[in-house]
C-alpha cells in the first residue's frame, strides 16, 4: 500500500522531465535527421548526405585543427595543472580564481581581445614596427585559428586535470617513493594513470567545442578557413539551405561520437565523464 503510493508519486515526478526530454531533446534530433534525409519538397533523399563529399576537406581540416589544438592544450595544460597542484594551499586558491576567470568570461570577448592584440594593425604589430621589425601578418592564417582555439579552451583542459591531481591520495606517492621510484617514475607510473579520467574529460572539453567553433575562425581566420561550424552556421544564417546544414550537423554529431568513443578507450575505468 505504502509502496504503491510511493511509486505513484514517482511517476508524477518523472513525467515532466520525460515529456520535456521527448519534445526538446529527442524531437529536435529527429528533426535534424528528417531535414538531412529530405529535399525541399519533403521527399526522402540521400542527396544531402552524398553531396557532403564536397565538404570532405572541411571535415578533415576541422579535425586536424582541433586535434592539434587539443594536443597542444594537453601539452601545456598538464604541466600547468601539475605545477599548480604542487603549490601551497593559499597560492592554489588564488590560482584557481585566476584560472576560473577566463572560463567565465564570454568566449566572444576573449576571442575578440586576442584578435585586437594580434591584429596586423594591433598592439603587438605596432610595437614590432616601432622597433624596426616588419609588421605582423598573423590574422587570417591557419596558425591564428589554432592559437585561438588553444587560447580559448586551455582552461577547460587544466581544470579537470588539476581536480584529479588534487584528489590523488598522498599515500600513493609516498608508497611509490618507498618502493624505489624516483619522481619521474612516480609521475609516469602513478600520477599519470590516476589522472587519466581528468585528461579524458579535459580532452573532451577542448576537442568538442574546437571542432564545432565558428566565431574563432571568423575572427582570427578572417573567414578564409571554413570549419564545420562555419559551414553549418552559413547554411542556417546566410543561406536557406537547411537540408545541407542538417546533413553536415548529423555527420559532425556522428564524428564526435566516434571520437569520444576512441577517447574513452584511454580511460581504464568505466567512469562516466563528469564535466
Amino acid at each position: 500500500m505504502m509502496k504503491n503510493k510511493r511509486s505513484a508519486f514517482e511517476r508524477v515526478a518523472s513525467s515532466p522531465y520525460i515529456v520535456w526530454s521527448a519534445i526538446f531533446i529527442i524531437a529536435p534530433l529527429l528533426f535534424v535527421a528528417y531535414f538531412a534525409f529530405t529535399d525541399r519538397d519533403g521527399n526522402f533523399t540521400f542527396e544531402n548526405i552524398l553531396s557532403l563529399s564536397s565538404y570532405s576537406e572541411t571535415f578533415i581540416m576541422s579535425l586536424g585543427f582541433s586535434l592539434i589544438a587539443t594536443t597542444v592544450c594537453l601539452l601545456i595544460g598538464y604541466p600547468l595543472a601539475y605545477c599548480m597542484s604542487r603549490t601551497s594551499e593559499r597560492t592554489r586558491s588564488i590560482l584557481m580564481v585566476l584560472l576560473m576567470l577566463p572560463m567565465w568570461i564570454s568566449l566572444l570577448i576573449r576571442t575578440y581581445s586576442l584578435m585586437a592584440l594580434l591584429d596586423n594593425g594591433g598592439l603587438v604589430s605596432s610595437f614590432l614596427v616601432s622597433i624596426g621589425l616588419p609588421k605582423l601578418t598573423f590574422i587570417g592564417t591557419d596558425a591564428a585559428v589554432i592559437l585561438g582555439m588553444i587560447y580559448d579552451f586551455l582552461p577547460y583542459m587544466v581544470l579537470p586535470i588539476y581536480t584529479s591531481l588534487i584528489k590523488i591520495d598522498r599515500r600513493y606517492l609516498e608508497a611509490s617513493a618507498d618502493l624505489g621510484c624516483n619522481s619521474m617514475q612516480t609521475l609516469l607510473k602513478v600520477i599519470l594513470p590516476l589522472t587519466t579520467p581528468g585528461v579524458v574529460s579535459g580532452v573532451t572539453m577542448v576537442f568538442v567545442p574546437s571542432i564545432s567553433t565558428f566565431y574563432i575562425s571568423q575572427k582570427l581566420g578572417g573567414g578564409s578557413f571554413d570549419l564545420i561550424g562555419d559551414t553549418i552556421e552559413r547554411q542556417f544564417q546566410n543561406q536557406v539551405t537547411y537540408h545541407t546544414g542538417a546533413a553536415v550537423s548529423l555527420v559532425m554529431m556522428i564524428l564526435i561520437l566516434i571520437s569520444l568513443a576512441i577517447m574513452n578507450k584511454f580511460s581504464d575505468n568505466e567512469e562516466e565523464i563528469i564535466v
Binding site: F9, A13, P16, L117, P209, S212, I232, L257
Partner: protein, 277 residues
C-alpha cells in the same frame, strides 16, 4: 625546480591574461585606437550607457538566466528523484543517456536542432514569428538540465535510505517525505546546479544565436552583433565591466567557500571529500 615551475605558471597565466588586460587598459584610451595609448578617459563608458541597448541586453540576459535556471532546477530535481528511486535499470540507463545528449553534443548542433524544431513546428502550424523569449527559455532550460541532474543525482545516492522509510512509516505521505526529508538532503546539489545553470545560461552565445529574435537580445548576442560591425571602444568598456563583475563574483564565491570549509570538523570534511568524487 620550484623556480621553474613558478616561472612556468607565471608565463602561461601572463599569456592567458595579456589580451584581457589590453581590453581593460584600452577601454580607458582617449584616442580610440589600438596602436597607442594617448590619455585616460571615461568617455567610452558614458558612450556605452548612452544608448539603452546594452542595458536592455543585460536585463534580458539576467531575466533569461534566472527563469531558465529556476525551471531547469525544478525539472532537474524531479527528474533526478525519479531516476534515483527507479527500480528499473533500463529506465535509469535510458534517462541517463538521454540526459547526456545535450552535454555531449556540441552547442552548435543543439542550437541548430532547436531551431529546426521551432521552425518546423511553425511551418506545420503556420505560425509566424515563433522565435523569441519563449524559444530562448526552452533552449536554455534544455541545455541546463543535464548539469542540474548531474549535480543532484549523486546527492540522492549518498542519502540515507532509512530516513525515507522512517518518514513513510511515521505517516508521511510520499509528497511530504519528498519535501521534508529528501529536498533538504539534496539541497547542496540543488544550489550548485542552480548556480551552474545560471552562469551557463548567462554565458551562452551559440545556442541563442540560432533561436533568438530581434525581440529578445541577450548580452552575448549584443556583443556578437557589435563585433560584426565597426567596433567602437564602448565595446571594450562593456567587456571591462563584465570582466570586473565576474572577478568580484568569483572572489566572493571563493571567500564564502573558504569560510564554509573552515566550519566542518576533520571527519565531516573527509566525508564531504569522499562525496565530491
Amino acid at each position: 625546480m620550484k623556480f621553474l615551475s613558478r616561472f612556468y605558471i607565471f608565463i602561461v597565466f601572463a599569456i592567458l591574461y595579456a589580451p584581457i588586460l589590453v581590453v581593460v587598459l584600452f577601454s580607458f584610451n582617449a584616442s580610440g585606437n589600438l596602436s597607442s595609448f594617448s590619455g585616460f578617459t571615461f568617455y567610452w563608458y558614458k558612450d556605452l550607457f548612452r544608448s539603452g541597448e546594452a542595458i536592455e541586453a543585460l536585463k534580458n540576459s539576467l531575466v533569461l538566466a534566472l527563469c531558465s535556471s529556476a525551471l531547469a532546477t525544478v525539472l532537474g530535481t524531479l527528474a533526478s528523484f525519479s531516476i534515483a528511486h527507479s527500480k528499473s535499470k533500463t529506465y535509469q540507463t535510458i534517462m541517463k543517456s538521454v540526459t547526456n545528449i545535450p552535454m555531449m553534443n556540441p552547442d552548435i548542433v543543439t542550437g541548430v536542432s532547436m531551431m529546426l524544431l521551432f521552425v518546423g513546428v511553425a511551418l506545420i502550424f503556420k505560425l509566424n514569428n515563433v522565435l523569441g523569449f519563449w524559444t530562448m527559455l526552452i533552449a536554455h532550460t534544455t541545455f541546463n538540465l543535464p548539469y542540474v541532474i548531474l549535480s543532484i543525482l549523486p546527492k540522492f545516492k549518498q542519502m540515507d535510505k532509512h530516513l525515507i522509510e522512517a518518514a513513510l512509516d511515521l505517516g508521511c505521505t510520499p509528497t511530504q517525505t519528498f519535501f521534508k526529508i529528501e529536498v533538504p538532503a539534496i539541497m547542496p546539489g540543488i544550489i550548485s546546479g542552480l548556480m551552474m545553470s545560471f552562469t551557463l545560461s548567462l554565458d551562452d552565445f551559440v545556442i541563442s544565436h540560432f533561436v533568438s529574435s530581434p525581440d529578445f537580445k541577450t548580452l552575448p548576442l549584443y556583443i556578437y552583433n557589435q563585433t560584426a560591425h565597426e567596433v567602437k571602444f564602448s565595446m571594450y568598456a562593456l567587456c571591462t565591466l563584465m570582466i570586473f563583475t565576474i572577478l568580484i563574483l568569483l572572489i566572493a564565491v571563493n571567500l564564502a567557500g573558504a569560510k564554509r570549509d573552515k566550519k566542518p570538523t576533520a571527519k565531516q570534511r573527509r566525508v564531504k571529500g569522499g562525496a565530491a568524487k
